[in-house]
Amino acid sequence: MHPINWLIVIGWIGYIVIDGVRRAKGTREIEGYFLANRSLPWWAVGLSVMATQLSAITMIGTTGQGATDGMRFVQFYFGLPIAMVILGVTLVPLIRGAKVYTAYEYLERRFDARTRSLTAFLFLLSRGMSCGTIIAAPAVVFSAIFGWNMGLSVALIGVPTVLYTMIGGVQAVTWVDVKQMFLIVGALLAVVVTLLIQLPVSPTDALHVAGAAGRLRVYDFSFSLSNTYTFWSGVIGGTFLMLSYFGTDQSQVQRYLTARSVDEARSSLLMSAYWKIPLQALVLLIGVLVFTFYLFARPPLLFNPAHDRAVRAALPAAYAELESRYVAEVTARDLAARDLTKAEDTPAKAVAAQRFKQRVDQVESVRSEALALASQVTGQQSKDVNYIIPRFVLDHLPIGLAGIFIAAILAAAMNAVAAELNSLATASVIDFYKRWVRNEAPDAHFLAVSRAATGFWGIFACVVATFAANLGSLIEVVNRFGSFFYGSILGVFLLAMIPRARGTGAFIGLIAGMCAVGAVNFGAPSVSFLWHNVVGAVTVVVVGVLLSGGRAAAPAAT
């Protein structure tokens, strides 16, 4: 990468760390460290909520998915606005009004200490692991592209993030998120403009070509439990997933607990409801435009440069033969795409579109052979979806803009990790240390313990990231970790809103919910993980209500 690009990346990381550390000023007690004294404006909290979800996986994995699979992934988010609205009228006023530090603390007031501790433990387990995969996703890509070892890549993301989160607390996390969101959205828009300028065809022709390759197919109304990306999976399964994530996951709940009032907390969530789908569509559209760009400019046979080098060294003759076939197929596809843009009437367009689609399939077939070869040589999974956008950025974006985009990828990773570390430390200190080890102590003591907990989780996440390099499709890995517990934890919070529900019902219901998800996962592996949330939540509520008997319990704590 050009030195100017490196200067931009290093300059941005330095600026973010200094800005985050400065936020430690005036933080003398844990309410300031974990909840910013419940004083943040809704727009800052809203941007922080969005930044937390927009990880590096979105920047490299989702854009790559747009290039290879098209726009249909956007259906995954169709449940989000519905979930935000439901949370705005149910859990947000309940949890925000209870003046708690963690969502799980509320469960002790409503049920009992064991339900609180189990849900908090499940959160620590799933989030601690997923935090590692959030760092691992860009670290693996940076390692392959820049030839670094995994430890250095992990340190580049992990060390600055741990530093500003540990010292500055939630104030640093939120205000750094706000600044990084502007960088990320700015970088995405700049890439769209650059792509439109660099394409040799008009934007309308580019969309026609992308559409002919099936990349603009958004909606799939089929009902299939095994397909994650359908309209119904997104609306039903997605609503449950988002309800669980935004309503019960401390990394999200903590964001809106920092808001000035219940109303501002709701507004911060509604900001995501407004912008998540359009933003996700923009991210996918970048992938689609990169696919279109590579129709007219020769793409690499393997986007992962490490695999490219390995196959070239191990099987030079077979790889050279594949490369020559690839060049021929790519050239034929280029001509077919240009023919499609020149076709004037509908029948001619239909014929040209069919020819073009055949050429696209031929190119993909050669690429599949190359990926299989890479898999055989390296012994690793050789899906290179996550490498498409970074390669495009480094090979084709102008100097300066490439640096900004790489900084934006790092920013996205840092945002997601910082929120996770902050919430992991909060749950560790509030739900375990303060609850079970030492209830009374000066604020300075709890502040020191909180910073130590943040540092511990930072090191834990970096260690997991270093060893998580070969976990397969990273987007799914992150979602799968959560799906084992998310639905069941949501079920407990739903149960909390049912007056007759009691502690024993909630605790046994929670265990039953996780068993049900485990049974579905291992008994019917073809069922998409999105539906695990529905299974978990419904099981907890049904078992919890049945075991709670007929009498109404004490009203919910507020």
Binding site: M71, G88, T90, P93, A212, Y274, I277
Partner: protein
């Protein structure tokens, strides 16, 4: 829920706006599919 009438009104208005933005986005995505996918 403990929501005062003006707050509830404001929430309802925001809700309508959120859903309108989503509807427009979904329609735009639908148009993208119909207009450009043969």
């Amino acid at each position: 829920m403990n929501t005062s009438p003006p707050e509830a009104d404001r929430f309802r208005r925001t809700l309508v706006r959120v859903m309108t933005v989503q509807l427009i986005t979904l329609l735009l995505l639908g148009w993208l599919q119909i207009a450009f996918t043969p």
